[in-house]
């Protein structure tokens, strides 16, 4: 992010375009939520739009597209790897139940209580 006034002015142009794109995507994500689709598909759509918005912010507002420092890129890549590991935690906790119909032991606790009365 060094550079002359010229360059900065060019950047300002890009910022404005990114701002416009973010506004459009925000509207889009709200509209998409009114679509009558199954929940898994709705999640996929919402996550894709959010990722697109996030990438724009990270790339242009946080200047990662211009980043040339290998130290920084390595550090962030490492973070992303461990972040992915962290996001796998939910799937580790339920990996046993894939394809097996196993209702939670307490799923009908309220019901059982009624019967007891």
């Amino acid at each position: 992010m060094s550079g002359s006034a010229e360059e900065t002015k060019k950047h300002v142009d890009i910022y404005m375009k990114v701002a416009g794109a973010l506004a459009v995507l925000t509207v889009l994500t709200v509209l998409a939520s009114y679509l009558d689709v199954a929940v898994p598909l709705a999640i996929i759509i919402a996550v894709i739009i959010a990722t697109a918005k996030g990438s724009l912010v990270v790339s242009y507002f946080m200047h990662l597209v211009d980043e040339r420092s290998r130290t920084l890129i390595f550090t962030l890549a490492l973070t992303v790897v461990f972040w992915i590991v962290l996001m796998l935690v939910p799937f580790l906790t339920i990996s046993d139940t894939y394809g097996v119909h196993k209702p939670l032991p307490n799923a009908d606790a309220a019901h059982a209580e009624d019967e007891a009365h």
């Binding site: 701002a19 739009i49 973070t79």
Partner: protein
């Protein structure tokens, strides 16, 4: 001896201390919010039933707040650009706008919280509301922190511009990186909590 590379970038890493420091901090923040998002997924998968966000939350208000926060990110990046162009007055204006937008966000959020409390939709009501309160409150605290930092650079801290220009630019850049990150978290929080 003075501490080197406080302002100029070190040739072999291509970074100054401040920039590396703030990025490392953001890396830890990624893991912090990662833990919470992970929790969200686990609770949702394991939950017997999970409400749609709209059952409890007001989508237009959430969308408005999203726009406000993205707007503040734009003004924040304009602050930095104004400094680069050497226009201090514009910098003050944009920084002031960033702070006002952040305060607007907090006010709207406060109104939402007030609504929840008055409907007795407290964290103990359900797991959905628990994760909603925890994540938005933690995010809100990050906004408060950002307002304090930005307020400092708008007010007393901005004197540095006249003394050590480059150092001040670096600091505003670091504050900006933090602010964009807070915005980024909200970009994911909004659809996850309100829309799904």
């Amino acid at each position: 001896m003075e501490i080197p590379y406080t302002v100029a970038a070190r040739p072999d890493t291509g970074l100054n201390n401040v920039k590396l420091g703030i990025w490392l901090f953001l890396a830890s923040e990624v893991m912090l919010f990662g833990g919470l998002f992970s929790t969200y997924v686990i609770l949702r998968i394991g939950g017997v039933d999970w409400p749609l966000g709209a059952e409890y939350l007001n989508i237009p208000i959430g969308a408005f707040n999203t726009a406000v926060l993205i707007g503040s990110s734009v003004t924040m990046v304009m602050c930095f650009a104004s400094l680069k162009l050497g226009d201090f007055a514009k910098y003050r204006m944009y920084m002031g706008a960033t702070i006002l937008l952040a305060l607007t966000f907090l006010a709207v959020k406060g109104f939402e919280y007030y609504e929840k409390v008055s409907h007795d939709h407290l964290p103990s009501h359900s797991t959905f509301l628990a994760i909603y309160w925890t994540m938005t409150a933690l995010h809100g605290l990050h906004i408060v922190g950002g307002v304090i930092v930005n307020g400092y650079f708008w007010g007393p801290g901005s004197r540095m511009w006249h003394v050590k220009r480059e150092m001040f630019e670096n600091r505003v850049e670091a504050a900006g990186l933090y602010w964009h990150f807070v915005d980024l978290v909200w970009i994911f929080l909004f659809p996850v909590l309100y829309l799904l």
